[in-house]
Amino acid sequence: MSGLLWILPALALGCLFVHHWLSLLRPRWLSILLLFGAGTPAGIGITSCLFYLSVVAAPRIQNLSMWIEMALLGGLAYAAFRKRQPPAAHLPALRFPLNALLIGSLLIAAVAVTTIISGAWEANPHGNWDAWTLWNLRARFLAAGGELAQRAWSPMLASHPEYPLLVSAFVGRCWAYGQDASTAVPIATSYLYLLSLLALMIGGIGLLRSQSLGLLAGLALLGTPTLLHEVPAQYADVPITCYFAGAIVLMLLDYPLLAGLCASMAAWTKDEGLLFLVLLCAAATAFRRRDVPRLIMGALPVTFIFLGFKALLHAGTPSILGNSVLGLVPKLEDPSRYGQVIGAFGSEFVGMASGWYHPLLPVLVLAIVLRFDRERHRDLLFCATVAGSLMLAYFATYIITPYDLTWHLQSSLDRIFVQLWPCLLLAVFAGLRRPEALARVAIQPTAEATPDKIRKKKKTPGRR
């Protein structure tokens, strides 16, 4: 169980790192949620990168990355102690009468979900197939340290040695430091990604729009059975969607540097993440041009690690796109493939239902009751462009896949929807009108009253 304890310094490091860049807003609890939601995956990513780099660059020096982490942690803690936060800007004092009810519902949902998932941990402590044939297997190699760690990307491995290593390296790090390969580590890691995703939704939408909308976004996320089902599987799809959501939320809140970091960590989690990073940059160029340089700057360090891994350690291992070149034209010209993929996408969307319930229902109710806010159409368009273009890119990948199309769709499309769903939720919730406006609750306008004003206020020279 000591491996489990080594998760804590990673979380502390990530939260302190994000805290360094983030301006705290009020209500403070939403800022803390955002800090946790962005800091946890950032900490997992940073420590994973450090561990991987130390294994590659200095395999003979045991636990080198641990000492670097400790030094960083000390430095960031000192910086946080010294940091003088400007007085936190106040979001409107939203007195929405249903907030208490929403918080109560959210707590009930979170406790219920945790209880149910804990049953799955007990039933399958090693996770589902890909967890022990791929992600956690590579973590076991990495945890061995020295030259043995390099077996994590050995071509002798039967299952995708070219896949990025963020999740495996983090689990391997905790196992190596704790000298104990407990299943509690990958279990806790996957659960932390779910909590971070939830915190990002509530904190991000809450700060961007309103508390009640943030709470409703969190509830909508927890009301997605297919997403929750992926958590105990211990695959990399919940982590990657957490990075997707983190990048989008941080872009909306005007933290492009942190958004770039999140997007690059998505690439270091799974190959699809690189696609997301490119599409995010493209969407930012179209909608938020002035943020692009900082977005790219934030993405550079981890992208270099990702590209180095692919170019140096897996030179000559073709990607799915590389493998698709053969027979590309006949596949593109085959209308039956388009029909099959469209059909599968439709079935998968319908298949997100459980009984009579579909996770679209609460979103639909809110869209009908609240309607979309015209002033927020730019945020909505930005999120929808990222999510929509990602969906189109996945669609195109299936059309040209080198694998048997039926098998490829059956074995991955459910997880693709898990990756996309939180992005789609963010698009909707970023664009909805605030429930407070509907309830005609008096909002006390103050000098710092609206999120838009807060945005402008944050953009003081030298802040980032």
Binding site: S105, A120, W132, L137, L148, R151, L216, S354
Partner: protein
């Protein structure tokens, strides 16, 4: 708003129904946990840096075969498991009782130890 919140809670309820049925049906379906106790002897006997060969009586390419091989690889890591009989160490992973020593001889292997439950450790003849 209340309706949306209630619907989301309905989603959680549906998830609980679905997940509990799933867990009852698929409780460690590939017996990964059991592989740890089954292969404990091999883990103790073979050094961590070894590349271990693999021989089995399961039909090649079936789900059972892949699950057994991948499960053994997971348990034995950081030892590397390869579907070959030319390594110094070879793991015999058998579903049915048989004359494992004679199976080993066919591949030029000497039976080092029979751990029971179909788990046999071979070594290359002459080592």
């Amino acid at each position: 708003m209340v309706l949306a919140a209630v619907m989301s809670l309905w989603g959680v309820f549906e998830y609980s129904r679905f997940e509990s049925v799933y867990q009852q049906q698929f409780r460690d379906p590939y017996k990964v946990s059991a592989q740890f106790s089954r292969l404990a002897g091999v883990r103790d006997a073979v050094p961590e840096n070894a590349i271990i060969g693999y021989v089995t009586d399961l039909p090649r390419g079936t789900i059972t075969d892949n699950a057994t091989f991948d499960g053994a690889q997971y348990v034995l890591a950081p030892r590397m498991l390869q579907r070959t009989t030319s390594s110094d160490w070879v793991l015999g992973d058998f579903a049915k009782p048989d004359d494992f020593a004679s199976i080993g001889r066919k591949y030029g292997l000497r039976m080092e130890r029979d751990f029971g439950e179909g788990v046999v450790l071979f070594r290359k003849e002459g080592r």
